[in-house]
């Protein structure tokens, strides 16, 4: 099964272009959707999860038309929204069981088993009788993951799943996803580059509703191999460098800015060659897009 997104566009009533002619083919396995806040990741994911209508375009899950055969899609869907809440006065086991019924798991015994297993997987089994109102952010997130995995979904959409998880939990979650992702379409959105690097076999970078890049993470890194340069500069110089070079990222290092520049050749000897990584791919795509836009304005 493969998810094909064709010419998908969506403009909100306030004029924001959330999706702009998006075309993606998402095969089995983990697919990372990388982009800054407000890039349109969540809009895209909600649309795939049958919860939002595009203005135009189509989404096919195998033979299923996601936009019209919503019921069929929902049967094989596991969805974790970016932001969600829970009923505060109900315990985890009860709510998960209730959701399992809605998922169509009619057999009470099966339901009991899967609820138990998922609570164990997400390390919530201990708290199964505790009211959800008392859950911490991380626990709540894990509950969200548990419900998304109910009933062996064929299409899993997880929107910023690791937000609020501590590093150990995040690792566990990655393992869990990797385990499942082998024969399922898993779409994972994040703005954390490492998530994608660690997990995904395919990825897309999207910004301002447009797909900037798709491909295998390693291959995209290879594509810019040898074109990333690093230099430590003084604070006041940043603007000059930005004008002169394609600065893709800057961060502070021991109190001084360190910039990374994209260039096919070494800009000047004061720049050190560095190994390109996924972050460079990401920033080069995002910032390049921004630069283009600025140029347009000028």
């Amino acid at each position: 099964m493969e998810l094909t997104i064709t010419n998908l566009s969506k403009t909100y009533s306030n004029g924001v272009k959330a999706l702009n002619d998006v075309n993606l083919t998402i095969p089995k396995g983990m697919f990372g959707l990388l982009g800054p806040n407000g890039a349109g990741k969540s809009s895209l994911m909600r649309t795939i999860a049958t919860l939002q209508e595009p203005d135009s375009g189509s989404i096919m899950l195998g033979d299923l038309n996601v936009l019209t055969e919503k019921d069929e899609v929902r049967k094989v869907l596991g969805y974790l929204p970016q932001e969600f809440g829970v009923y505060p006065k109900i315990d985890a086991e009860t709510l998960l069981d209730h959701l399992a019924v809605l998922k169509g798991i009619a057999n009470a015994k099966e339901r009991k088993e899967i609820v138990k297993a998922l609570l164990q997987k997400t390390n919530l089994y201990k708290f199964r009788t505790k009211n959800l109102g008392g859950f911490s952010g991380g626990m709540k997130q894990r509950f969200g993951i548990a419900q998304a995995l109910l009933a062996d979904p064929k299409l899993i959409i997880v929107d910023e799943p690791t937000a609020g998880l501590d590093p150990a939990e995040r690792n566990r979650f990655h393992n869990l996803l990797a385990e499942i992702g082998e024969n399922t379409v898993v779409i994972l959105s994040t703005h954390i580059v490492d998530d994608v690097k660690e997990l995904c076999t395919e990825m897309a970078i999207i910004n301002q509703g447009e797909v900037l890049l798709t491909g295998h993470p390693e291959k995209t890194i290879d594509a810019i191999k040898g074109q990333i340069w690093r230099k430590r500069i003084e604070k006041g110089e940043l603007d000059d460098y930005k004008k002169q070079y394609t600065v893709i990222s800057e961060k502070m290092f021991a109190g001084k800015p360190e910039i990374r520049v994209f260039s096919e050749t070494q800009p000047d000897p004061s720049f050190d060659a560095v190994e390109s990584n996924l972050e460079d791919v990401y920033f080069s795509q995002i910032n390049a897009a921004v630069k283009e836009e600025e140029a347009d304005v000028v």
Binding site: Y87, L99, V101, L102, E113, K121, N123, A151
Partner: protein
């Protein structure tokens, strides 16, 4: 500092649109209430002007109470919003003082609150000056009339409630708690309303009412029209105490709030200890088991069930729900102490009484229904789990339907709780005859359908509007719009949502004929509700799209085959049931809204009034044949009248008026002589026949007629309750009468004005010869010979005036032939029901020998409670009346129970139909209770004299001759059977009836002798003043006068005219000593009120068995005109001075009661008694009309020995 916070609060609020929306709502409501009839808020009626100070005060009180929700919204959030917006950490870490913070916020919000509620007086004032206002209904503009009640009632109301909401919001930090305060206040108000029902509790209610509505009512209850139009409600007495209490409570609330409030950001929970968070452990390595997903019907049903139960439980667990339910049941139980009170007596807690009580819970149902339908629709979105839910593979309708079923499960559960509560109330009252079937039938049909329909409607509105609070507003708007529609003349049940009336349940007739229309209307509305539900399912938001355009696009996708089938089915049900209802109400029957029927009444008058005094023959003989078919609610009737020309002129035309009832058709009508139709007013069922040969003076002709009463299908309103399955009762008005009937005319001045008719005189002048020429039963007869044969179903007994001649069965039907042996009024009843009969006998002495009288009570099986009392009352009454007035003219009396569609008893010749709703199921427990069964029986029997032996002329004062004299007669019979305390209790109710009646007078108050069908005068004042008269001049003297009166004026004596109060007064004055003539004048010819008051009462102990009581009294005598303008007149009266002691049981006992001459306003008396006095005063038994009867007596205190 506080001023800065105050200013900030003001600026913040001034920029909030909500402030102006609230102001706008109040302004608009007030404006419309004052300037139109579309919105009505307890406004004035009749002679009380629409901008009278009392009317304005009442409207302001109601508005400030109803719109407490605005007060809670403004004041509740003043502090709370810092928590809701999670601003508290930022604000509370600033260096501000608690006082500055709270004072600034409170005052700022309160100023805004005052501004918002100023919308009331602004709206009123603007409304008053609108050019389309009717100047007759307005007083000259006076700003003070608006500001005074605003300051006295609205501002303190706002202060107290504002303080309460402010503090509860600040302390609880939850809006829910603010709403709970609102409910609690409402409860206190309800309690005051309930206890107001008892006269003795009114002062307490006036003090306790947080909104001062009961206070306004109780203060002005006896205000006359003039007083209501000219006086603002003074800030004194109960008003002052009430306002001080609630302002004081407001201050206390603020002080408590100030000390309890803390700047701590984390609130230590009042209820539960903190849960410990356990350390997380490693993820265990387990496999996720494979599961099977199924999506058949069974699973859908299971999902539905799970959802329903989930939502039901969710509401059951909510604090607000528990609070509302608890308060609702509390009110219910409290009400049960006062239910079905008649004259301070309880009726038996029969199941239908309890059901009536439970119907008071409907308001709480409505609150629950409206608020929780909003809550449920928004449930997922509010906790933000909606996206997870919406992506679940469930059918679109499962979610919504689950919520609906959840609500219904909740309601079923609540109905069961109410049923148990009802049964428990019955048990506690010692009544074990619970009718579970009636409980179940009413609650699970009428109440449940009402809930189902409104829940579906609210769901629909919430889904479509897609904004919870706007949804609530739209629902309220819907209710208002429904009301407005009906004032605009759209009254048909097919346009009044969920208006399906199951009617009053009667033990005799069950739910009767109401079942059919009830069922069809419910099917009709259910059809509509189902359509709405499908639409709600289609357009409900699933996912993150809320734009209507996109919801519409998605909605089309949701129209699956089963949904379309269901929708089509609903449409079919709606259209066809609607068609069927329409066919019944508007095709089989004639439908008229009130405007149309008023227009027809006006047209009747305009067309036919010219014939009002046309010379017509009199009906002298009536012979009827009535075949009743109770199961079909039909009858066939035929009859022969003998018409006699009693005038000096020949009569050429006979004007025949048919009963206007739609069910009645005339099959044929012909005379024993040749006659043709000259003119037929079909619309008014009024036909003019022309006799070929004029009817000469003294000559007679026969008039034969055949009518049919046919019940066809069902009607939209004005159900026919007279011909029913069990308990048929109708009177002679269903048969043809002669000439114009002024009873069909429009009555109120307002209605008449709308149709360009002059105000109608309620009665003719006392000396109007046209009125004197006929009796108050009508102008087409001076009394008749009567004979009737009635047939009915075999299990029923049919009764009419007259004596049973023969009773037989034929063709499976029962026949009864009655014949009266003497002349009787042209006023008779036809009654048929499945009766039990209890019989007794008595005899009354005659001048020569004695006469046996058969006494019978026809009652519904199970209603045996008061038969013995009624029987005793009949015997005592007949004995007393026959001895004191004249012998009873008949040899039989029958009391017949009829269904409680009406609550009265009525006297026909030897026949008294008596409603199931009064007397038969009254519980008479205490010795102190007024025995209503005994009293009503006696009153109705007295009518055999006052109304049947002596029939008054149809002029002013007629009701004094029939009703006041019957009141007096019954009082005398009671006086000899019951204690003075009983009588006092009874007279107190009658005095209240008079005093509050005159406050609501629509035209003008008349003295008793000129009474114009004014209940409060001929029953209330009549009873009190007749009692006073016999107290002053003696029972014997009054009876002597009445004896002479009935001797000279009874119907068997040939007379020129009918008697009036002039005649009665002549007899009364003849037995009154000269020194008391002024009393007769004051009691009956004038409107006189007293203000008697005891200022001080002390006693000194003279010896072991001598006490001297010293009394200072104040007594004023006032004379009022017909509008209630009072002038003080010199007092020169003999008035009771009384001293009470205590008997062994601690009950009051009169030690001294003597009349003293009161000739000055302030007087003192010294009275020696030989027992220890407890209370003393002037007119202690309240024999004289007095608006403050409570201050007549005072506790006596021991004099300080000097």
């Amino acid at each position: 500092m506080w001023f800065k916070i105050f200013k900030f609060e003001l600026t913040y609020r001034i920029n909030r649109p909500a402030t102006y929306i609230y102001f706008g709502i109040l302004f608009l409501m007030s404006f419309l209430a004052m300037s139109t009839d579309v919105v009505r808020i307890g406004g004035g009626a009749g002679l009380v002007k629409e901008n009278a100070p009392v009317t304005i005060a009442t409207m302001m009180g109601i508005l400030s109470a109803v719109f407490m929700m605005i007060s809670s919204a403004i004041m509740g959030v003043a502090v709370l919003r810092d928590f809701e917006h999670k601003m508290e950490s930022i604000i509370f870490t600033n260096p501000i003082k608690k006082f500055d913070y709270l004072a600034g916020r409170f005052l700022g919000s309160f100023v805004i609150l005052l501004f918002v509620f100023s919308g009331i007086w602004m709206g009123f004032m603007l409304g008053e000056v609108m050019p389309w206002r009717d100047a007759d209904k307005l007083l000259p503009f006076s700003a003070w009339n608006y500001f005074q009640p605003f300051l006295v009632f609205v501002v303190p109301n706002l202060f107290f409630t504002g303080a309460l909401f402010f503090i509860s919001g600040a302390l609880s930090r939850k809006m829910v708690f603010v709403y709970l305060q609102w409910i609690a206040l409402f409860i206190v108000y309800q309690v005051t309303l309930i206890i107001t029902g008892e006269l003795d509790n009114r002062s307490l209610a006036a003090i306790l009412d947080p909104f001062a509505l009961s206070t306004i009512n109780n203060t002005t209850q006896y205000w006359t029209v003039v007083e209501q139009n000219s006086n603002t409600i003074p800030m004194e007495g109960h008003v002052l105490i009430n306002r001080l209490i609630w302002i004081g409570l407001g201050v206390i609330t603020l002080i408590i709030g100030y000390f309890s409030f803390s700047f701590n950001v984390v609130k230590s929970s009042w209820f539960k200890p903190k849960q410990k968070i356990q350390k997380a452990e490693k993820f265990p390595d387990v496999d996720i088991p494979k599961v099977t997903q199924t999506f058949g019907l069974a699973v859908t049903l299971k999902q539905l069930w799970k959802n329903s139960w989930f939502y039901c439980k969710d509401i059951l667990n909510s604090v607000v729900f528990k609070a509302i339910t608890f308060f609702g049941i509390f009110i219910l139980v409290l009400n049960s102490f006062y239910m079905g009170r008649v004259f301070g007596m309880n009726t038996y807690p029969t199941t239908y009484q309890i059901l009536q009580l439970i119907s008071g819970f409907n308001l709480f149902f409505l609150i629950i229904l409206v608020s929780f339908s909003g809550e449920l629709i928004w449930k997922e979105r509010e906790v933000k789990i909606n996206l997870i839910y919406d992506a679940m593979p469930v059918k679109d309708f499962v979610n919504l339907l689950g919520k609906f079923f959840g609500m219904i499960m909740l309601f079923v559960f609540m109905l069961a709780v109410l049923m148990v509560t009802g049964v428990l109330i019955q048990v506690f009252k010692g009544y074990y005859d619970f009718d579970i079937a009636v409980y179940a039938k009413t609650l699970f049909s009428e109440t449940l359908f009402f809930l189902v329909l409104y829940t579906l409607l609210c769901f629909f509105i919430q889904v479509i509007v897609n904004n919870k609070f706007l949804g609530y507003a739209v629902i309220i708007l819907f209710f208002i719009a429904t009301g407005v529609l009906s004032t605009l003349g759209v009254e048909h049940s097919m346009f009044q949502f969920a208006e399906t009336d199951l009617g009053p349940y009667s033990d005799m007739n069950g739910y009767g004929h109401y079942v059919t229309s009830f069922s069809w209307l419910n099917i009709y509305w259910l059809g509509l509700a189902m359509i709405l539900f499908v639409l709600a399912t289609m357009f409900s938001v699933r996912g993150s799209e809320a734009l209507m355009k996109i919801r519409f696009k998605v909605g089309k996708l949701r129209l699956t085959k089963p949904m379309v089938t269901f929708l089509m089915m609903s449409v079919i049900v709606f259209v066809f049931s609607g068609g069927f209802v329409y066919y019944n109400t508007n095709v089989l029957n004639t439908y008229q809204n009130s405007d149309e029927s008023e227009a027809e009444q006006a047209e009747y008058e305009k067309t036919l009034k010219q014939y009002e005094f046309l010379n017509q023959p009199k009906i002298v003989d009536v012979n009827l044949r009535v075949d009743l078919y109770p199961k079909r609610r039909d009858y066939d009737a035929s009859g022969t009248y003998i018409l006699k020309n009693k005038s000096d002129e020949a009569i050429e035309q006979i004007h025949v008026q048919q009963s206007p009832g739609n069910e009645i058709t005339l099959d044929s009508l012909y005379f024993s002589v040749d006659a043709g139709i000259e003119e037929d007013f079909e619309k008014f069922k009024y036909t003019i026949y022309k006799l070929k040969e004029p009817l000469q003076p003294g000559a007679e002709i026969k008039m034969h007629f055949k009518t049919r009463f046919v019940t066809k299908g069902f009607v939209a309103s004005n159900q026919n309750n007279s011909v029913v399955y069990n308990g048929t009762f109708f009177n002679s008005s269903q048969f043809p009468s002669l000439g114009y009937n002024d009873g069909f005319e429009l009555f109120t001045d307002d209605d008449r004005k709308d149709h360009d008719l002059k105000p109608k005189e309620r009665s003719m002048e006392r000396d109007d010869p046209r009125g004197l020429a006929h009796d108050f039963f009508g102008d087409d007869s001076d009394g008749i010979q009567f004979e009737v044969t009635i047939s009915t179903d075999p299990e029923q007994i049919a009764v009419a005036p007259g004596y049973l001649q023969k009773e037989w069965e034929e063709n499976g039907r029962k026949y009864f032939h009655y014949k009266m042996d003497q002349k009787m009024a042209n006023f008779y009843s036809i009654i048929s029901a499945d009766y039990e009969v209890v019989r007794d006998k008595m005899s009354i002495p005659l001048d020569s020998g004695s006469k046996d009288i058969a006494l019978e009570i026809y009652y519904h099986k199970g209603h045996e409670y008061n038969l013995e009392r009624m029987m005793r009352s009949m015997k005592n009454s007949f004995t007393y009346f026959s001895k004191e007035f004249s012998p009873y003219q008949f040899t039989q009396m029958r009391i017949l129970e009829f269904p409680r569609y009406a609550s009265f008893a009525q006297s026909f010749a030897n026949t008294v139909p008596f409603s199931e709703g009064i007397g038969f199921v009254v519980e008479i427990k205490d010795e102190d209770d007024v025995d209503i069964a005994y009293y009503v029986t006696s009153h109705e029997l007295a009518h055999q004299w006052w109304g049947h032996q002596l029939i008054p002329a149809n002029v002013r004062g007629a009701a004094m001759l029939s009703e006041t004299l019957s009141q007096y007669s019954a009082l005398m019979v009671m006086k000899h059977e019951y204690s003075m305390e009983n009588m006092q209790e009874f007279l107190k109710e009658e005095m209240n009836r008079y005093l509050s009646g005159r406050a609501n007078e629509q035209k003008k108050e008349m003295p008793v002798t000129l009474v114009e069908s004014q209940n409060y005068i001929h029953y209330g004042k009549g009873a009190v003043n007749m009692f006073a008269l016999q107290d002053y001049i003696g029972e014997d003297s009054v009876n002597m006068a009445l004896k002479r009166f009935v001797r000279d004026w009874n119907i068997f004596v040939e007379k020129e005219r009918y008697p009036t109060t002039v005649d009665l007064m002549g007899y009364l004055r003849a037995v009154t000593p000269d020194s008391m003539q002024y009393l007769v004048t004051d009691l009956f010819d004038k409107i006189v009120l007293f203000e008697n008051k005891t200022e001080t009462a002390t006693y000194a102990t003279k010896s072991d068995n001598k006490w001297e009581v010293e009394l200072a009294i104040n007594s004023k005598k006032l004379e009022a005109d017909s509008l209630g303008v009072e002038t003080k007149v010199p007092n020169n009266y003999w008035i009771d001075i009384g001293v009470y002691g205590e008997d062994e049981d601690g009950k009051d006992k009169l030690l001294y009661l003597q009349k003293h001459l009161i000739d000055k306003e302030d007087m003192t008396f010294k009275i020696e008694v030989d027992e220890k006095p407890t209370k003393a005063g002037i007119d202690p038994i309240n024999k004289l009309i007095d608006r403050n009867p409570d201050d007549n007596i005072k506790k006596v205190t021991e004099q300080e020995s000097s």
